[in-house]
Subunit: 131 residues, 2 copies
DNA sequence: CTGCATGCAAAAACTTTGCACCGCC
DNA sequence: GGCGGTGCAAAGTTTTTGCATGCAG
């Protein structure tokens, strides 16, 4: 089985405290403050491990590197087309879309991943700042 | 503006004829039959260009390399958890989820990308082949 | 001819992995 | 002390890019 490691614990806690879905690189940079000798490889190994055991989530926004979410509970994400920031989105009542999608499909649909995109609150405010 | 190129035309036609959402590597391999000296760089450049002008779509399944869809019309995709194949999925009545998602959101939602996942028809048949 | 497109190759960006050593249990 | 974890570095994978040449308009 798996053993305790201060590095893994710290990575998990770091992610739990952030809501900006950092990349592996960002996690690495912050971990180095606490573990000056930690390696990127260790960060990746732990991020993958934590993802596999369901303690964090890996996001693949399609643009740029993968990001990580310390909140393992199912929820949605928003990607800003302007600044590429990734925000959490609570959307309820979307479970039925699996059924909808399976309507004319021979296989079985077990889930879905959705990324909403558009203009985030900050960029919206910035663009509308006239006068 | 942009100039005609046989390579680009061929890539576009190749994608229009396939429904398996090939990767850049696959496109490259097939293009080489017609253009033995074509380079991967040219394939990538044209795939990106065609994506930008909206003649094809780029898919980022999260697992493995990007894939390309010769059908520029909005539709959904299914990714098999077993064989990783990517299938088209026609799902209607999902436009409202943008509104649903924007309910408690300060920014503006302009669209969404959804990947359904589960077991594809082939893998389902294969796993259920008892008797 | 002018400038976008190509081929080639180098390099960038991101992620994984082999190996020897370290530390949890 | 055995086995998983780590650091380090090399390598793997995927994609982009610089540059000289080629071809469409």
């Amino acid at each position: 089985m798996q053993k305790y490691s201060r590095q893994r614990e710290s990575i998990k806690n770091f992610l739990a405290d952030r809501y900006d879905h950092p990349t592996a690189e960002t996690v690495y940079l912050h971990m180095r403050e606490q573990f000056p000798n930690i390696s990127l490889g260790t960060v990746y190994r732990n991020l993958n491990l934590l993802t596999e055991i369901g303690e964090i989530q890996k996001l693949s926004p399609g643009i740029g590197p993968d990001r990580f979410d310390g909140n393992p509970a199912p929820h949605y994400h928003f990607i800003c087309s302007h600044c590429s920031s990734v925000l959490d989105l609570e959307v309820s009542g979307l479970d039925h879309i699996n059924i909808l999608a399976g309507q004319n499909f021979g296989g079985s649909i077990e889930g879905h991943i959705t990324y909403f995109y558009g203009t985030c609150p900050s960029c919206k405010a910035a663009s509308g700042s006239s006068s």
